[in-house]
Symmetry: C2
Subunit: 316 residues, 2 copies
């Protein structure tokens, strides 16, 4: 099959990559559409030391697997967990110590024609949800994860820093609560996507420093992190939503003096994200920048890496 | 009056420092005993840019103030708050934006014969609590603050890193819950103080890395911080209990990947600490290293700064 492969130095199209083996609990999924995530771009800078087929955002169609799934349109949770440990028992397979992670850790991803995914990880996509929407389920689930971890009160003032893909999705997910949500970003065209949803949008250049109860760091930059810390009220909460490869130097004293809670936040469960897409309470398709055929995957990654890019999709 | 003073460069005994003015809501307290805290030592390295009389741990006797307090033995909360803002209204005067902080920010402290403290900050010390115990109320309240911020479950495995004064108090406060508490430190003699309280004690050199639900960072060192982060289970909590002057370089990726919650923790309310002392559920006097007369305050600070020091007291 055709697949994009990363060998630690080069991303290339392999026209005859081995078809995934799907013994046991694994299903074989034909990829209909895949999304390029900032984490993929981090991987191409060394994050996680990954080698193989990258990609972890997809919508596909089951070719081999349990009868109830055959031929169904699906999305797949990306943590391939043991299913037996304490974390798995608590529904936290995304923290299973022996997990593999699709296209990130020990498992080939979805920048390919076919992918092997544990059948237990698959969710059927409702007919009302288009492929172009379903491919956002994984990052949208990561946005909803904030609400699994942090109790957002109706009186809370919430600021999202960063108008990248994840920031725009986080602002939408948090805006489904009664809290007041403001997003600060550098791109008027990106912020414009959220205005009609009742989310306050502010250009970073016009931002007047204030402190909020809950601040989401979704810029992925050291500068953004420092700004975000300074914007958390005493006893407030800072949510770290970016995984970045480099270390940060920061003064932890403000965290102690202001008794700030910092919450690291990663992947979420898919059901709430699928429900939001089915109910049209979020709008994801405006975030699509461009769709490339898989053959042009290297070019697509370059396009996705440019400053100000939004979601770039691959169609195998 | 006699007072120790810090001018940003030198700590010195001033034999004729002006007696504090106590107009309005301020009471005048004669200091019976004061404690030297690691934060004081940080101040002498530049922390908070403080100038004046340092010191914020005291037990004293009211000389001027409301009739009900006159002549009473008291301890004093260190945040001098406005009493009118939202934080003050929520009982969080320690986060009041215009607060002064005893011996730390804009208010003279207790390394002196007399100190001015808002009468509202004073708590009468029960007769059953000795001066040598009452002087620990402030740091003990800071230890209890962890339990104001973090829900410690009976099934939680808790590790305290650091067997300094604050670490030893934190371990004792947390051990009043049904959670399992282990303290890791470098000094067998310090750890010995906690053994009979049913707290597991482990020498750092013999510590076998494991992950716990809740980890308290009370070493104040960058190395300790890195170790502490690595010791938090996925979805666990790290409590930062040290204010340190220098910046830290650290990788935030583990916080995000393991969805760790980091909680900065500072001062606490005095009532729970006074109650614990009155009920003899904590043992603080074994932590006293040496008591110096105020005249020997400079020598006392030197003594408190040596490696492995425990609590050093000043008697004006």
């Amino acid at each position: 099959m055709r697949a994009l492969t990363w060998n630690g130095e080069t991303l290339a199209l392999d026209p005859s990559y081995p078809t995934p083996k799907t013994a046991g609990a694994m299903a074989l999924v034909r990829v209909r559409l895949a999304g390029i995530c900032s984490t993929d771009l981090q991987i191409f800078r060394g994050y996680m030391g990954f080698r193989g087929v990258p990609g972890h955002e997809l919508v596909g169609e089951v070719r081999e697997g349990p009868a109830v799934l055959l031929g169904r349109r699906v999305v797949g949770e990306i943590n391939f967990a043991c299913g037996r440990c304490e974390y798995c028992g608590r529904g936290l397979g995304r923290h299973c110590a022996v997990r593999r992670v699709m296209g990130i850790l020990g498992a080939d991803g979805c920048f390919a024609e076919l992918i092997a995914v544990p059948a237990a990880n698959l969710h059927v996509v409702p007919d009302s949800v288009e492929d172009q929407e379903a491919v956002f389920v994984e990052p949208l689930a990561a946005a909803f994860e904030i609400l699994e971890q942090v109790h957002l009160k109706p009186t809370d003032d919430v600021i999202v820093f960063g108008d990248g893909k994840l920031g725009l999705l986080c602002a939408q997910a948090l805006n489904l609560t009664p809290a007041r949500v403001t997003i600060i970003g550098k791109h008027q065209n990106k912020l414009a996507h959220l205005k009609h949803l009742g989310i306050s949008t502010v250009l970073a250049s016009k931002w007047k420093q204030r402190q909020a109860d809950v601040v989401i760091e979704a810029t992925g930059s050291a500068d953004g992190l420092t700004k975000a810390i300074a914007s958390v009220r005493p006893r407030g909460t800072l949510v770290l939503k970016s995984t970045v490869a480099q270390d940060h130097t920061l003064s932890l004293a403000p965290l102690v003096i202001n008794e700030i809670t910092v919450v690291g936040s990663r992947c979420g469960r898919f059901a709430p994200a699928l429900r939001a897409l089915a109910h049209r309470t979020v709008a994801v398709t405006p975030l699509i920048d461009k769709t490339f055929p898989l053959e042009d995957g290297v070019e697509a990654v370059g396009f996705a890496s440019r400053r100000g890019a939004l979601k770039v999709l691959l169609r195998p």
